[in-house]
Symmetry: D2
Subunit: 282 residues, 4 copies
């Protein structure tokens, strides 16, 4: 599948996020430890917020590990909110329109996992997308359809509820097509201010997801680490797998959980899909 | 829009088709005379038949004029039936899955023109595609949806009828969405044996289309031309615009016409769209 | 050949420079009026200065007109000093390492034109590059070798002198190989503070080069134009061809001239190549 | 480094060579067992002979495992002599001109390994290339310079001798620059009739190289295998690592050895570099 990283906090050069650490995201593109695939070389993308409310995105079909433009941009662009995603295709074409993060207005979305038997259920899912949003679908991934289902079901007003409804719909359509475990997912989405992350799968054996320990706790643990002194206490990373082996720095998100990184205390809650009330025809 | 070339006849090195002539297709990629755009640099594709009944396709997002792989392949591959297409995007992404010719089983399809206001009518058209064929749609072009509508409406059994029904459907859906002239097209399609070409537009001002003069007539006109002596009498080219200025070599396809290149005498007939009998909901 | 644009002045979104105007650089990539080629679709590059003294560069082998990443970056990155270049290859490979602007330390360099019969003179020119700089040559263009000759001959200390010596060397080597007019050029180079531009050719029929009228004069000419009120009086553009038809806004650089855009009054001087004192063996 | 495969024998669809077996070359691009790197995703190339004496080459900067054009071509092109190479860059740019196999006239060349400290020795090596051949160097790899040294030193007349002299030169130049082990290599080269392979390194711990067992022996070992009955007895594969686990099918090439696959009995001999008689200035 894929690997991803979401960062919210003090403005940081993107290269600090992508290339630093014993086991950086770029290193994971060649040698993932925890991923379903060890190589994530089927394109990548980054999204970041600068002055404008709408984020910038940069998508490439080349493997991330050797991409010179990514290295250049990462070395010259700072941001307080960054999404980065490296892709291992489960069959779909390697093209920029299939690269995460996806964008709608001021929102970004990225996904690791899959909608199982997507070829079978795709038509029903696409039909459930708001006809106004339908023309915005640019690529052929399950992840982008999932995003547009969440948008259709209220992502911009109630992210956790909209994702719960989208997952409920995907499970409903999947089960009508005889798919045993219709979805496997970790997802991150943001409006530029708050950042939501989800870990869930129909079989309750979800792909790994980690969040970084609160900065004040890290300062106590590692009083001599200059980075922890320097960044804002609100700084937080959510990642598919830890970027290094620093003891106490990384915490697994529990199975079937969503969380939000926000001004003030961050939160974690149980995640339960909400099935559709009016059934979708298969 | 685009430029295309369809060849049926004696096996020929593809480079003879693409790079030869005062005004070759590759030259047209930089300097089209008759196209809606003078530059056709948004990717290209070729399709050809070798031993297998299923044709090979080669798609690239680079401009054709400088593509080294195209030059290599064209210099080493011969075929009796070749489709070549150079793209000028009307807005869609530049990606291999948007490059013509499209393929389904042993069929190839390529299109110059557009379905107008495609963003508005796309959902209705996609819904009219056979659900079995729906997952095969890989890209985001109007041309690929058009192909799948024609397949849904019987392309493999009755190409002229299926294209007439597909165009009738597109015009019906377009008019329901208030589109004055829903379609502009020249189309080529083949099963590897016969080759059909269509010239039509809702406004009856269609993009140019030409076919080459019969080889026996060319031999009389140009008794000293070795190529005309060498190729089979059944050899025929259909092109968006002439590949050169040889007097008597090129003939315009009339407005609202379809033709077929086949063993024995080729044919041309009037083309009239067939509206759907059961209306499609807009 | 190519088209290029160099901007120095008030920080501006790069999209203002690339996509605005009746005849923007991106428009020139499809339809150049003054270039040796009308299509400049063989890759492009931009370079810009942000916080770091070393500029960022972004190179792509796709045509600029449809590149989504360029559109994204241009819409989110501001800079006070921007180089942009669109390439029409004269035969060399289309690859990122052949895209301008080239970089060395804090310096950028871009070139329109060519070293004639480069295949013949390349070895002698490459041998004249400082062995320390030799491994830095990444691509196969004449322009990059020209840059490294200028660096070898003192570009960082005396740009006009170093370029005069590099051109003198190129003419000397060329004439030893029987090349009648060894060089055709417009060049821009910068260290992040000053910006030098050159117009010269051995045949004294050089490619076009223009600079924008001083901002205070433009304010007088166009008192209602908000852009001219807004930007700093030191703001200056140097371009291969005017970005629009605004009367009085663009001035041709005379034949055989160099100029510098710098804090305070900008300057223009005659450009005369300086032949090598110790002859280079052909 | 890289992985490669050289095939000589009965005409075979290229997909049989690239995609078949428990551990095909395409599988090795994602998961090499024996390579210095497990991922070989930095571009690839194939070369093959058809009717013309000059081989065709196809180079791509995308990883081989998901390349749709490679899949298409491999499924439609047959050849009696095929080179295939998947690259893991040791630092050089990912561009088509850096993809193997390299071609000169009717010759192909590919290399796994490296010239150590190439940045330091490159200038001296490039100077040793015949000035007539110098302009043919298109990319920036050590492997292409090595090929042109071998051509300079007589590859077309005496391949084993020319490679011995080229390696001797590389070791001489390297030692003058203080490089302890100047070269690590497996190399394949062919003129379309014979195929030479080399295994050598200055430290005598060379990358792996295997050749397939003679077809008549395989027929005895596996009397029920239809492929072994079908292919010509002269058919031979030389590979960086075995394509599968069939007992008795693969044989390691000994350290410091060259071999030739040719009409009649193939041969293997000791490989000993030949130092230059007239020293090269460092």
């Amino acid at each position: 599948m894929c690997r991803w990283l979401a960062y919210s906090g003090s403005p940081l050069l993107i290269e600090e996020l992508l290339y630093s650490g014993d086991h950086s995201l770029i290193d994971q593109s060649l040698h993932s430890r925890f991923g379903a695939e060890t190589t994530n070389g089927d394109g990548f993308g980054i999204g970041w917020y600068a002055q404008a409310p709408e984020p910038a995105v940069f998508h490439s079909v080349e493997p991330a590990w050797n991409d010179r433009n990514l290295r250049e941009l990462a070395g010259h662009i700072s941001s307080h909110l960054v999404f980065a995603h490296i892709r291992a295709s489960t069959g779909g074409a390697i093209q920029q329109t299939n690269c995460h993060p996806f964008r709608h207005g001021s929102w970004l979305w990225m996904h690791n996992g899959l909608i199982r038997d997507f070829e079978q259920v795709k038509r029903d899912l696409v039909l459930a997308v708001d006809p106004e949003l339908f023309p915005e679908i640019q690529g052929t991934t399950d992840s982008e359809v999932f995003f547009h289902l969440a948008l259709t079901l209220g992502l911009e007003d109630d992210p956790p509820g909209a994702v719960a409804r989208a997952v409920g719909l995907i499970e409903d359509v999947g089960s009508k097509h005889g798919v045993e475990y219709p979805i496997q997912m970790t997802v991150a989405t943001t409006n530029g201010n708050e950042l939501w992350a989800f870990r869930y799968s129909s079989e309750h054996q979800s792909r790994s997801l980690y969040f970084s320990t609160a900065v004040d706790a890290l300062r106590t643990l590692y009083p001599d680490n200059p980075l922890f002194q320097q960044v804002d206490v609100e700084t937080r990373l959510v990642v598919s797998e830890p970027l290094g082996d620093l003891a106490g720095a990384w915490n697994a998100v529990p199975e079937s959980t969503w969380g939000v990184v926000q001004p003030g205390a961050d939160e974690m809650h149980d995640f339960t899909p909400v099935p559709p009330t009016s059934p979708v025809a298969a």
